[in-house]
Structure formats: structure tokens, C-alpha cells
Symmetry: D2
């Protein structure tokens, strides 16, 4: 694809931590090209390099530095906008953009539970994209990426649901600092410490997988009938959410069968060889002390889910440990994969 044929994209909330991750991942994207960066009033009008407090190890590309930041208004010269907006303003802005014919792919929570908005994990529910037909945005549309913790969990659950049926899921998380944005968690709250609470997080994890794993019937998603309980903790890890999970299955099975189901799991992103797709959505580790955040978070471009320690449980059928990268797979990377799927499926 010649460079000037790339699809023009913009980033809303481009100076925030999710916005920066969007820029990092889109900078050398084979299909998409960053043409517009939008942010709040106080950044608008400045060169991006002057407006941003760039916190990522990857150097800020120089052609990005010189882009002039605009307001989050629908006069951007691009086809897709990736939204990393704060949830207290994201809802309305994203609606405005969709109404003006933009393809909105959002990492914010606001529209996730809208009846006509796909809550999309491309490996799991690509067929939910049909919901877009029911949207009232003309040529515009809104697609959302789930909560960072939900994504790793839902990918691990999907093969269990498909192969053995799923009754209930218990999850306790140890979540990374980057999940709270920047400046986010004060260092005085987390060095030599744990915070056993993340505002609003448990509710999202208990609700979102039901929609993602739901069936699309007559243009509506019927939520999966699974009981989920979540407890969330913030720990002193930079990137990578670790989750201790227990499940009750509908059918009896063995650890070997489960591992086999995980290993062979893949979906449309793998079949379509989408640029951001992991080769294998799930990596299973036999080592008794794996996965670990610092060691495994970047596997397969940070887009795969690592699982380990599967074993029978005394209260549930099985227990195991999940790790997934919360800003790659769990935020910007996941949203870009959504856009790639939409492009490949001809949605724009």
C-alpha cells in the first residue's frame, strides 16, 4: 500500500496516557496514518511535542511532534478517530463525531453498554459488528473496546464457554499502575504497598464479559448467563494485569482438555492476519510460577494473553492465573485491532 493511500486517522485525548499509546502503536502502522491529534482546550493550538508530557520509552516520532493539536471537534481531516478520552467527557464527544460520519473506535467506557454498540474483542465476537447497522449515525459509527481487565479474562473464558460451558467465574486481580493513567496513582500510595480497591472496576468486570460472550440474535446481544464475581487490587507493577481466576464449567473435563482448547483457540484476527493480531491469542505456560508481569507482558507484541497454573480447585472446578498487557491488548492495541477487523470486513 503506498503511503498516501493509508487511511487517515485521528486520536482524541491524544496527550493522555492512552492517547500516547495510540500514537506509539499507530506511528508505523501499515494501514493507518496519524493525521490529526486532538485534546483539551489547554493543548489545542500547540505543537504536539510541546503539549504532551511524553511518558513512554519509545521516542516520540519527530513527524508527530510537529502536528498541531486541535480541539475535540468534528472538523478533523480523517476517517477514523481513536478515542482515549476521559470518561467524564468521552460520551458526548464520541456521539458528535459519529453523527458527523466519523468511524469512532473508543477505549472509553461510556458507550460500551449501548444496545447498538459492539463491545468488541475481535477474536471473540466479530459478528457483533452487525450491531452497527442499527446505529443511527449515518455513515458514522461507534465501536468500543472493553475494560483492560475484562479483555484478558474474556479471551481466557471464550474457549471454556465454547468447549465446556461456563457457569460461574471468580476473579481477583492485581492491576498495573499504567491502568490508572498519568499521573494516576501516587508513588506514596503504592511503594511497599497494595491498594485493595479500584473505583468502578469490579462492576465493569462483572458486567462486560456477559455482553462480549453473549449471542447476537435478531440484531440484539443476549447476554451470556454466567455469574461473575470480581475483586480488584492495585499493585506496584508498571504494566500487565495479573488475575487469579476460578471457574465452574457445565461439563466435566480435564486440565489437559482445557489447555488443548486454549492452545488451539484463535479467531478472525488470526485468520485474516490482521497487523496487530497476536500469532496465538493464548499462551499457556507449564512452569509452576508463570505467568509473571515483567517477564510475559510483552509476548506476541503485548497482544496475547498468558495463562498458567491450571489446576483443579476445592470450591470451583478449576483455578488458573491470567496475565495480559493492560495498555497494549487492554487499551490502545485492542482498539486498533478492532479497527483493523472493521477495515478487513469492509465496514469502512
Amino acid at each position: 500500500m503506498v503511503n498516501n493511500q493509508k487511511i487517515r486517522v485521528g486520536v482524541l485525548g491524544s496527550t493522555g496516557s492512552v492517547g500516547q499509546k495510540f500514537i506509539e502503536l499507530l506511528s508505523n502502522h501499515p494501514w493507518f496514518e496519524i493525521k490529526e491529534l486532538a485534546a483539551s482546550e489547554k493543548s489545542a493550538g500547540k505543537k504536539y511535542g510541546d503539549a504532551v508530557n511524553w511518558i513512554l520509552p519509545t521516542p516520540l516520532p519527530s513527524h508527530i511532534k510537529n502536528i498541531t493539536v486541535k480541539n475535540c471537534e468534528p472538523n478533523l481531516n480523517c476517517q477514523i478517530v481513536f478515542s482515549g478520552l476521559d470518561s467524564n467527557i468521552a460520551g458526548e464527544i464520541e456521539t458528535t463525531f459519529a453523527k458527523k460520519d466519523y468511524v469512532v473506535v473508543s477505549n472509553s467506557k461510556n458507550h460500551r453498554m449501548d444496545e447498538d454498540v459492539p463491545l468488541l474483542i475481535p477474536e471473540i465476537n466479530d459478528n457483533h459488528l452487525e450491531l452497527i447497522k442499527h446505529q443511527a449515525y449515518g455513515r458514522g459509527m461507534i465501536v468500543t473496546n472493553p475494560n483492560c481487565t475484562t479483555i484478558g479474562l474474556a479471551i481466557a473464558l471464550k474457549p471454556l464457554l465454547d468447549n465446556f460451558g461456563l457457569e460461574s467465574v471468580n476473579i481477583i486481580t492485581m492491576q498495573a499502575l499504567s491502568g490508572a493513567g498519568y499521573p494516576g496513582v501516587s508513588s506514596l500510595d503504592i511503594v511497599d504497598n497494595i491498594i485493595p480497591f479500584i473505583s468502578g472496576e469490579e462492576e465493569k468486570i462483572e458486567a462486560e464479559p456477559l455482553k462480549i460472550l453473549g449471542q447476537l440474535t435478531s440484531g440484539q446481544v443476549q447476554n451470556a448467563k454466567i455469574k461473575i464475581s470480581a475483586q480488584c487490587n492495585r499493585v506496584a507493577v508498571v504494566d500487565g494485569h495479573l488475575e487469579c481466576v476460578q471457574v465452574d464449567l457445565k461439563e466435566k473435563t480435564t486440565s489437559d482438555e482445557i489447555i488443548k482448547a486454549w492452545k488451539k483457540f484463535n479467531g478472525e484476527p488470526q485468520r485474516l492476519k490482521l497487523p496487530s493480531a497476536p500469532t496465538n491469542p493464548i499462551h499457556y505456560f507449564e512452569e509452576e510460577n508463570f505467568p509473571q508481569p515483567r517477564i510475559h507482558r510483552n509476548i506476541d507484541k503485548g497482544m496475547a494473553v498468558s495463562i498458567g497454573r491450571l489446576r483443579p480447585d476445592t470450591l470451583f472446578d478449576f483455578k488458573f492465573v491470567i496475565l495480559s498487557h493492560n495498555t497494549n491488548r487492554g487499551a490502545a492495541g485492542g482498539a486498533i485491532l478492532c479497527a483493523e477487523l472493521m477495515k478487513a470486513k469492509g465496514y469502512f
Copy 2:
């Protein structure tokens, strides 16, 4: 009590991390006086100050520095020995001391499950001390202190068991580094990381509470009939184990009733005003993000259990968060409290 009337005590495994904590806590003890320090071959014969790599913030008292370390053989001039021995040698050595008429109070796992050995948490099962009568050690005896994670858990569970009945308990831990001893966990394994595995720990947590919470009938402990599932993680916290717990109760109740039960809970150590007893064994916090290890681990001399976030659960009846200090309440401090109880009850 005049100084020379204090009870003479010794510490086995005195140079290790638990041994050091014993020394710290016994240095100004009103009833006990350190007279003997024993350790492995390579320390024996040296002044303690030369043998030890003292890792505690409390300065090593100078009268302790000059004690000559002896071998772990039953020729120590003391009545009680506190054992912080490594479990690969503790079993036999402790038996040898008991046979030679020493009172052995051990933090090691070896004798915990012996039929005639109390697995003692003084607030919970002081009556289990009667098991000592069945020991075949003459005037000697062995009493054990439970696993560091078990202690916080069992104290939180006891009021639930007594007031509402207990069906099942699910626990996921985030455990401090000091629980692994010294040098213990490599810094390269834990900075910016979590290890989702602690060897042998889950098994102990699933088994020990059943004995501790069991009924003493005809000189035997009948294990409590509770199903427990445990998952353990090591995190970058110096001291203080945090535990996410879920419970199914036999009777319906409310959060208010449970909090009331926790707040009024106390036991023999409080009634007898034992020197190491916390004023309140349980502190309940209303703040939604408490308890936290660095903030609350030292409450009530590090001997109390902090609880917070009690709320109804979707899979179990209730869920909540526990914090307890793993080397004070959970190791040396707990063992010393056992010895205080035994003294107050006339066991020696």
C-alpha cells in the same frame, strides 16, 4: 517481677529472619529473658553480633550481641525454646528438645499437624492446649504457631464460625517478602513484578484452619467441616500479607451483624491482658480502600488483624479484605503470645 525472676528462654535458628524477629520482640519482654541463642554449625561458637547479618530496623541490643551462639542441642540453660528453625531440620531437633524437658514453641511447620500438638492461636483455641497432656515428652512439650497467612485468616473467620456458621472460604493472597525469609526472594524476581506461586503455601492454608477451628473432643481435635480454597501470590511489599476472602455462611446475616461480631471478638489473651496481646484482635475499617499493608500492618503492635471492604458477593455470601503482619502476628509475635498464654495458664 525482678529481672532474675524472669523465665529463661532460648531461640533456635537465631540467626535466621524469624530468629531475629524473636530476639527483637523478646529483648524487652516483661516475663521472658533471652539466655541462649542457638544456630547452625557455622555460627556456633561465635558472638551473636558476629554471626548474624542483622536485617531489622530495630538496633540489635548490645547485651544480645555478646551472647555466644551454641549448637541446636538440648544443653541450653533455659526453660523455653522458641524455634525459628528451617523446616528441613526443625522436626527432629524440636522433638529432641521436648524429650529433654524443654518447652518448645515453634514457628516451623513440622509438628503442626501432629495429633497431640496444639496448632495454637491464643484468641481462638486456647483449650487445645489440653492436647499437651497427651504428649509423650515428660515435662517437655511442643506447641506450634500456624502459617503466617493462616493466622490472619483464622482470626477473621472465628467470629463468623461462632455467630453464623461457616460453609466455605475462598482466599487469594498477596504476600510480603519477609514471609520468604532472608535472602529469600531475589530482587530481580519481584521489582515491577508478581510471582503467582509460593511453594507449599496453598496446601497449608487449606488445611491448617480446619485444625485450629476444630472442636476438642475426648482429647482429640475434630477438624472443622469447612471447604477452603487458596491461591497465593508474592508481591513487592516488605511486611504484611493482604488477603481477598469470600465466605459462604450457614445462616443468613447482614454486613452490620458481621462487623459487630468482628468488633466484639476477643479471647483469652485480652481477658488475661497478656503482654503481647493486641487490645483488639480485629480492627474493621470503613474506608473503601483500606486496609493497606504499609499503613496498617503495625496496628496494635503488629498483633491485630485489619479487615475492610466487607460487602455482599455474587458467588459467595460475602467478600472482604484482610491484612495481618506476617512476622509479628504471623510468626515470632504469634509464637510468643502462645508462650504467654501457656505461662498464664500454668503450663510451665
Copy 3:
């Protein structure tokens, strides 16, 4: 002293991190009693327990919780105000209080370099209190506590200056997170990282010791003639600033002589047995890897300076390592010691 004879004190900026430390240290003070808490507009009128986000491990005393926070205006019912105000507002407010006859003891930088304001370290320059006579505040007065890093440094330097003369001082710091206040440093900036820059800090360290170590002549402080160079780094340590120091002395001497000078050093706080005074202002460690922040910061109530690793240097005469607690000795504790000295000397 009967309770109702205690001196009534207030805290300005009482909800901030330094303000909280003042409250912690003053809660059971034998001479002072907290009667007033003042803070910004948005806290004024609330109960302190509702206004503050209490971040200290020591529980907030209940009688403090119920004090109603006032504005920082000079209508407080107390004799002394301790100021933990932010430096962008501290200067004017403190002047206003002094003019209204309050004794102002400030931890803020604003008045530190005023010609007529003592920059006080009670062990070093108690005679600088005479500057107060030259203040134009009537019965009111302002005394300041130096920068947190300066304090440890100046205490270590004073015996060198007095015994051997001091030419030049080179200092590289590794400073704790609590020095930046709360929320202060973002966790994403410091986990697995170092920030080699602290705004304005190097300038303070290069200037303040010259005034502190200066001679009072005819009512004026003549700055000490020492050349100082400072480089400052922020590290992932909760409390305790570590400083690598090199010095050129005027006279030749030996390590033994220097250690002797440090060990015998003390001042008015020790002679007067002030309540917050450390028994020994300086603790010297022979261990090659001491002092360390987590191990030694709380020595002598966190009010002593720990020194170690003294050895000859190839570029300077000697080099060594200093540790001092930045919020006890370095902020609130140091300021309270100043007030104790002033009381003992009859300044109020």
C-alpha cells in the same frame, strides 16, 4: 505540667503532608497542644477528619478528627503556628500571622533567607535566635526550618567545620518520595526508575548551609565561606534522604578524628533535654554497607543523622554517606524542635 497549662498551637496547611506530620508529632507533645487547624478555603468549615486524606500509618487521633478546620487567617486561638503551607502562598500568610503577634515556626522556604529570620537547626546555630530582636513583628516572630536535605548535611558538616575547617562540599542526593508531598511523584515516574532532577532543590542545598553555618556578628549572619555543589535525584524510597558527600577540610586529619568529632557532637537540644531532641544527633556506623534508608531512618525518633563509609578520597580529602529522615528531622520534627528550643530559651 498540667494539661491545661500546655501552650496552645495551631497548624497552617494542616491537611497537606507536612501538616499531617505536624499533627502526628504534636498529638502527644508534653509542652504543646493542638488547638487550631487551618487550611485552604475548600477545607475550612469541615471537621478535620472529613477534610483530610490522612496518609500516615499512625492513626489520626479522634480528638483531632473533630476539630473544625479554619481559614489561614490570624484569628486562631493559639500562641504558636506551625506552618506547612505551600511555598506559593506561605510567605504572605506567615508575615500576616507574625504581625498579629503569633509565633510562626515555618517549614516553608519563603522567609528562610530573610536577613532577620533565623534559619535554625537547634544543635547548630541556636544563637541565631537573636535575629528575632531585629524583626519588626512586635510580639510576633518568624523562625524557619531548613530544607529537608540541608538539615542532614549541615548537622554532619558542623563538627567538621568546628574541628578541622571546611573548604568545599560536594553532595549527590537520593531523595525519598515523601519529600515531594502528596500526591507528589507519580508512581509511573518512579517504579523501576530514578528521576535525576528535583526542581529548585540543588539551589537550596548550595545556599542554605552557608547561612546556617554562618557567624552571627553585630546582629547579622555572615555566611560561611564554603563552596558547595549539589546534584539531586528522586528514588523509590518512602522516607529518608541518602546523601553521598565529599569534603575538603582546612586542616589535615584522620578518619578516626572525624568519627570522634561526630560521635561527641551535640548541642542545646541535648543539653536542655528538649522533648524532640535525639539522644545523639549523629550516629556513625562501621558497617561498610550502612546507613540504609529503610533500616536507619527511624533511629532516635527519626531525629538523628546516620553517617557511614567515611574514607579518604582521591579528589577531596574525605567522602562519606549521610542518611536523615526527611519528614521527621527534615520537616515537621525539625520545626517542632525549633519551637521547643525557643520555649526553653524564653522566646515566648
Copy 4:
């Protein structure tokens, strides 16, 4: 180059942390191919995958897993051996290999100061390779890579020496955990802490740059006449040594001139486009709070040195901050670059 034409290499001490880094960096090397892995008695005979506790985030390549580990004896089927041996055994083993015609490129300290052994930083002293002619090892030879801290320092100093002359250098380090190997530093010694001491490190930093920056005259290295003072600290950073440096220059100059000298600095690795060479050996940052370990350590494959905060000093002429990756540039990566230079220059 066809695969079977690659140069066969072996790694001594292959299971250690430096050995693992060698394997990581050599796994896809365009010129070298790992054919032999050697380690201690207790690993010899095992498959490498079974013998090693692999601690790196990069997955262990499967073709490496199946290599059978051999003893460190000179019967390996390869031309070059990279040595990551522990210094208490490295000296003799390396000599043995050199005598048996192997090219030994070592990261250990043992032979660094041998008169006839190059202490090589390819950008600085490639001409020191001539020393090899004076070695008495027949076709074999020994070349050494400097200490991890020395490398970053020497690269920063070289342009200063060449352009302005260098009188003296003062350096205080904050060194990463990976520099101590595995398990290395206990987590209990470093979480919420700093250790102001690293055994033997200051001596190496004060000595090694003198040889590296020395002139080769009549087959001998004349040490550079520079006075160096070093103080070393261990901090809770995984990778990347940060160094606060002060220098006295022979000629007066400006910050701008120095930055210009750093930016244009390069050497043989850049001219020869060696595979492991950084594009620019030195990156200078204008931001007042850069460089930082977590952000900048991986710049240019972890093979470049990052510098920032250059400013005039009160005691020296200038001060600045250096960061370099201690296991890439500072250990295995640096040694591989040495071998690449030797190959390109025809030494084997």
C-alpha cells in the same frame, strides 16, 4: 552469509545472568552462531532448557533449549568463546581456552588489567587490539570488556578528553539490580531502600577508564593521567546504571561545545556498521529531568549512552548525568561488539 558459514561460538558460564544475555543477543546474530554452551559441573550433561533458570523476558529459543551443556573445558566445537564466568573461576579457564587457540572475549574482570590484554570499548580504543600481538597464546587470544559502569562513563568522557582535555572525574552511581547477577540482591535489602555500597566496584571505576583512555605506545598502554573518584549505590531499578558525573577539563569551553562534541562522537563500530553498534554512541537530552533508567535504557538496542543535565558546576567545571544499559552495553552486548570489531578487523 549462508547460515552454515556463520562463525561458531560458545558461551562459558551460559546458565548465569550474563550467560543468558549472551544467548539472547547471539540467538539471531548475523555473523555468529551459538554452537556450544558450557557451565559448571552441575549443569554439564543436561539439556540447556533443563539446566537454566531462564530469567529474561525474551523467550528462550527452542534450538538453544536442546543444546547439551558441556563443562568449561577447551574441547568445544567453536572458534570464539564468550565468557560470562564468575570471577572466582574465570581467570584460569579463560587462559586455558586461549592457549588452546580459542578467541576468548570475556566480561569477567580477571584479565582486564593484564598488560597484553585489550580492555576494549570499540568506539574508543580499537587500536588497543594490537596488544593481542604480544599475547603468548598462539592463535588464541583474550580480549576483555570493561565493568558495566565504566563503559558508560568512558564513552561519555572520550569526546571530552579528545576535545578539551580531562583533569579529573567525580562519579556517583545508582546501579541497577541486574548488575549483581541472579539471585543477586535480596528483595528485602532493596524494596523501599538503597544500599550505598557495591563490593569492589569503586576500585574498578577508578582504575579501568585510565587504561581504556590510555595511549598505545610501543606496544604498551600508557594509562591516561586523570584523577577519578567513584561512589557506588545499589537501587531498586531492574536495568540501567545512572551516574552523576563532574569533570574538570584542561581547556575552557562551553556547554554547547561539549554537547556538540558528544553528538558528533562515533568510532569504528559506526564506520564499519557493526551489527551491534548503536547508530549514535551518545544521545544527549535537553529535558531537565532526563535521562531516566526505565525510559531511556533501551535506546539504540540498549547499546547507546544517554546523557543529560549538562551544566556548569561550582566545584568542577561541569556536571551531568549518564545512563547506560548495564547488561546490554555494559556486559554481553559490549562483549559481542568487541568480537564484531575483531572480526571486521581480521583478527580471526
